[in-house]
């Protein structure tokens, strides 16, 4: 799939002929995808179509059956552990259920990656970095709270803050608005846009939420049955005769 978006030129992710199966379940069937620097790409599709599998392969959490995944010019599948770790520092992954370390406070959650990867930083620098990302996600007051004391939306924000603290170049958002009320969803969508501007990130957002796709996506790739059925701006994808895509949109509107 070659991109229709012309304003972004510097490619940061290149995926070619990606296949992934779980037993008899063929989840991804020959995916081609590019992400350009500064771009917010949305992968839209129903639950169970392999969207999360796709970004887990990009992050090296799952291995593909065949095909290539290049992130910042490096083939993820062939990297040695040390190089993969180095690459992961440039990737931020926001999980669907936030995946905050529930035995740690917000501050400890945010310091966790810093302690391990920013050896040059003093405790004072770390405290400042924590303050900055908390301020960026609008949750400075939650610094000493435990994840169990936070709402779903607050957890998502802290999850995003934890990935931002290492200043990644690419953000991967897995269903950022899943399980949130409409107002909180809008706040998260705005945050995704703010993150790009403030932290100069490129991003892939995995979602089935049309509002999220329309608000955050510069480009939409519609995933159906393990293949990209259509790709372009939201209006281009929406304006289609493809019955399967139309039924997805109709279903979302009914919802």
């Amino acid at each position: 799939m070659e991109t229709t978006q012309q304003t972004f030129t510097d490619r940061v992710i290149k995926i070619r002929n990606l296949y992934k199966s779980f037993g008899e379940n063929h989840v991804l069937r020959g995916i081609n995808l590019d992400l350009y620097r500064g771009e917010n790409l949305v992968v839209l599709g129903r639950s169970g179509t392999g969207k999360s599998v796709l970004i887990k392969i990009i992050a090296g959490l799952l291995k593909q059956d065949s095909g290539t995944v290049e992130v910042l010019g490096q083939e993820v599948n062939t990297l040695k552990n040390k190089d993969l770790q180095a690459l992961r520092l440039k990737l931020g992954f926001s999980f669907q259920n936030s995946a905050l370390y529930d035995s740690m406070t917000v501050k400890e959650n945010l310091e966790f990656p810093l302690i391990r990867h920013s050896h040059h930083m003093t405790r004072k620098d770390m405290a400042k970095a924590v303050e900055q990302v908390l301020e960026a996600v609008g949750l400075s007051q939650a610094i000493n709270q435990l994840p169990a004391e936070l709402s779903g939306g607050q957890k998502k924000r802290i999850g995003i803050a934890r990935t931002l603290i290492l200043r990644p170049e690419i953000m991967l958002y897995d269903e950022p608005t899943a399980g949130l009320d409409p107002i909180t969803s809008i706040e998260i969508n705005n945050l995704i846009r703010e993150v790009r501007t403030r932290f100069n990130t490129s991003s892939i957002t995995i979602t089935h939420d049309l509002t999220c796709a329309k608000t955050t996506g510069d480009r939409i790739a519609m995933l159906l049955d393990g293949e990209f059925a259509k790709e372009g701006t939201f209006d281009e994808v929406f304006d289609t005769d493809n019955e399967r895509i139309k039924s997805f949109f109709d279903y979302n509107f009914i919802q």
Binding site: L61, Q85, A86, F95, Q96, P113, R116, H117, R162, T163
Partner: protein, 260 residues
């Protein structure tokens, strides 16, 4: 029809060997981490505190009762032969050679093994382990290496503590009946205990501690999706580690007896 697929003997054997491979790989990975600094010292110390200090109250009560009751139950048989003066030696040998390591290991298998299995299992199903992985942190080193090492090192310490408290329980019973002094009781108790007894007791508890840690971590790390998987991981960690502890006990006793 109960809906469950019946597996052939061939696939059961295949599954068994695949599981053996998985366990062997997990253990090998643990030993590899020994040579892969930097270590998660703070987390290790936290686990030592959790496994060691937080088990003390349960171990104190159990060890005291074990020593007291064992002495009380042994007396009638020895009294028949007029050999109650042997009680301190008998109790000393029984506690140091067998009871202290075994009782400590069984308590820890229940308390520590289930807690490790549930904690890591819960982290697995809520993607916290994946979150560590994508933030370029080695979750195996942070979660598994620290817990297994802490468990292996804390068990010998707890075993020594169990031995002391159990002997104290035994002394209280003896002093009530035979009016033996504290010093005489302990001199008699340790009179028949050799270096090999103490050494084998320490080695045994080290092996038990390693088993509890590795089984708990393995079950948690391989928990299925969902909360049911967490409960299953905690439960099977206890059952499997207790089973392995008894097997190890039999093997180590045979080896030590052949050296005696």
């Amino acid at each position: 029809m109960n809906g469950k697929k019946r597996l052939s003997i061939g696939s059961l054997i295949e599954r068994f060997f695949f599981k053996v491979y998985e366990v062997a790989y997990f253990i090998t990975r643990y030993f590899k981490e020994f040579f892969n600094p930097p270590f998660e010292t703070q987390e290790f110390l936290k686990q030592c505190y959790n496994i060691g200090y937080r088990s003390l109250s349960l171990i104190t009560v159990t060890a005291f009762i074990t020593g007291f009751v064992f002495t009380k139950q042994s007396r009638p048989s020895l009294a028949e032969f007029g050999a109650t003066s042997w009680i301190p030696s008998l109790v000393g040998i029984a506690i140091v050679r067998a009871l202290a390591p075994l009782v400590t290991a069984l308590i820890c298998a229940g308390k520590v093994g289930s807690s490790i299995g549930a904690e890591i299992g819960s982290m697995k199903v809520t993607e916290q382990i994946d979150a560590m992985e994508v933030s370029a942190t080695n979750p195996f080193k942070y979660l598994v290496f620290t817990r297994v090492t802490a468990s292996a090192l804390m068990l010998p310490v707890l075993t020594m503590y169990t031995g002391f408290i159990a002997l104290l329980g035994a002394y209280i019973n003896v002093s009530q009946n035979e009016l033996t002094s504290f010093q005489t009781f302990f001199l008699n108790a340790f009179d028949k205990i050799s270096f090999l007894d103490l050494f084998s007791s320490i080695i045994r508890s080290l092996a038990f501690g390693f088993t509890i840690g590795i089984v708990g971590c393995f079950k948690g790390y391989n928990a299925d999706q969902g909360t049911q998987g967490v409960g299953k991981a905690a439960n099977s960690a206890v059952v499997a580690s207790m089973f392995l502890i008894f097997i190890e006990e039999i093997i180590i006793v045979q080896i030590v007896n052949s050296l005696r």
